[in-house]
């Protein structure tokens, strides 16, 4: 569950990235955040994962009230969400298996849990046979699958993705979005910021359109609605 009330974000250089955002995304929803470059999509996602702090307004996410969140509670907020980026952010010197296991290691999961959970997730994203490969031996789509497996490994309630298909060709992009759809079907809330018009239009999911830091449209079963 994600609730934003009157969220504004002005960066220290004076740029107003978000201006009075009110938004509710319920448990189990699948929501696209669309809009032209510079609209404020990434800023919104950074606020959710507490990489940035809003200038004003309040955010509640997965039972965490971000206004009263203490510094040392931030890691626990982040453990309640899985995050995926356009540039995958895998460790080049670790194998696929190790990259996914890493996310469990750093939250001090037991080796036993790690041995059980990692193969399961690699199976889920269809990469069981590539566990021993390194990121540079994989295609972009495969790398993003690894990132998805990593994001999901600690069973987050919310999956947040910032242009996850931005670096992928259309077919591969489709595979990734279908995978995210499957994940959503299993109960995980999914929030995906994207430019990909075709995908948004044919998925018929909720579309939240941002422009100059303001929500200009919020439709169930919406379409992208912009000419790119």
């Amino acid at each position: 569950m994600i609730l934003l009330t009157n969220i504004s974000k002005t960066y220290s250089n004076g740029t107003i990235a978000l201006n009075g955002i009110n938004l509710y995304i319920g448990k189990g929803e699948f929501a696209f955040i669309v809009g032209p470059s510079g609209a404020g999509k990434s800023t919104l996602i950074k606020l959710l994962m507490r990489e940035e702090v809003p200038t004003s307004g309040n955010i509640i996410i997965n039972n965490f009230n971000l206004n009263s969140l203490r510094r040392r509670e931030v890691p626990y907020l982040r453990r309640s969400m899985g995050i995926v980026f356009q540039d995958f952010r895998l460790l080049p010197n670790k194998t696929v298996y190790e990259n996914v296991a890493f996310a469990m290691q750093i939250i001090e999961a037991s080796p036993k849990e790690i041995r059980r959970q990692v193969p399961y997730l690699l199976g889920l994203v269809g990469l069981s046979n590539k566990a021993k490969m390194y990121p540079h031996q994989l295609s972009g789509g495969e790398q993003q699958r690894v990132a998805l497996a990593r994001a999901l490994i600690n069973n987050p309630a919310v999956l947040i993705a910032d242009e996850p298909t931005g670096n992928l060709d259309p077919d591969t992009a489709w595979d990734i979005v279908k995978l995210m759809h499957d994940i959503n079907k299993r109960g995980t809330t999914v929030v995906m910021a994207t430019h990909a018009k075709e995908i948004v239009n044919s998925m018929k999911k909720r579309v939240i359109a941002l422009e100059n830091g303001i929500i200009v449209r919020d439709e169930e079963k919406g379409v992208y609605g912009y000419e790119i």
Partner: protein, 297 residues
């Protein structure tokens, strides 16, 4: 903050890996710690031994009073009685001129032949050797001794002792300041190494952050890296200083035998403790500084 065993193991592994990844910089850091501890160790050992010598001198230190030759020998014990009455005197023993000559010969060893012929005409005087409860009362006692009739001369090495104590104090202060200065240099170099290590792993740190690692989980490997650098430096310098000291002791004992010096086994434990805790501390402080500055978690 209680850490799980596997987390400690993880931090150690990451620390070692990072040292190896940045081996050039790590080597420079270890070298600085090494140089610091070796110089510090030399001053420390020098100061410890000066102290030891000072204590021995104080222990052996005595006032010597020479009896006038004109005093007949049966009156000498009377002078002894008078000396013993003075306050703060612990012991007072007679050394006859014959004993004094014998002692001289012993000190000269092979060269004792110089003294041949002195047996018939002994130019030395009878004397009393006086030990005090405390060297601080020396001036007072010397004053009273010189008032006793029949005493020709009072010999007193207090100035030498004072000077030795002053040198000891100076070396102690100097080694303290040198230690502080060197520690600052070592901390600076280590913090630079850790800064580079943080920089080299910024991608990994970023991933750790958004996957939900706690601040301390991210920081510990770097702190451990710093402490390991300090520890390695400490162990190597302990080895070098230890062997070096043993070697120098042998050289000194070949040419000088007046004072005893601390043997290696006497000081090893204290030295090891100081070096290791000092090395680990400067490593930890160095990395803590860098982490505060460069590791935004």
């Amino acid at each position: 903050m209680v850490m799980k065993f596997r987390t400690i193991r993880y931090c150690l592994k990451e620390g070692f890996t990072s040292i190896w990844t940045n081996r050039l910089m790590s080597l420079a850091s270890i070298g600085t710690v090494l140089a610091c501890l070796i110089i510090f160790g030399m001053f420390l050992l020098f100061s410890v031994n000066l102290n030891y010598i000072g204590a021995q001198v104080q222990e052996q230190w005595e006032i010597k009073v020479f009896i006038d030759e004109k005093i007949p020998s049966h009156e000498i014990p009377i002078i002894g009685e008078q000396i013993k009455k003075i306050k703060y005197i612990k012991a007072c023993t007679l050394e006859t001129k014959e004993q004094a000559l014998e002692n001289y010969k012993k000190q000269l060893g092979e060269d004792a032949y110089i003294l041949e012929g002195f047996d018939e005409f002994n130019p030395l005087r009878d004397s009393y050797n006086i030990n005090l409860d405390d060297i601080r009362y020396a001036d007072q006692v010397v004053q009273q001794l010189s008032e006793i009739p029949g005493i020709a001369k009072v010999k007193n090495h207090k100035e030498f002792v004072d000077r030795l104590l002053k040198v000891t104090e100076f070396v102690r202060m100097a080694s303290l300041w040198i230690m502080l200065l060197l520690a600052c240099i070592a901390v600076f170099i280590i913090s630079n190494t850790i800064k580079l290590a943080v920089f080299a792993r910024r991608k990994e740190i970023n991933i750790m952050k958004f996957v939900g690692a706690t601040d301390w989980f991210i920081r510990w490997p770097f702190i451990i890296e710093g402490m390991l650098i300090g520890l390695i430096g400490a162990l190597i310098s302990l080895l070098l200083v230890g062997y070096g000291y043993d070697y120098i002791l042998k050289l000194i004992y070949q040419s000088m035998n007046i004072f005893k010096l601390r043997s290696f086994s006497e000081i090893f434990e204290a030295l090891a403790f100081i070096f290791i805790s000092f090395g680990i501390s400067i490593g930890a402080v160095g990395s803590a500084i860098s982490i505060r500055k460069y590791l935004r978690v």
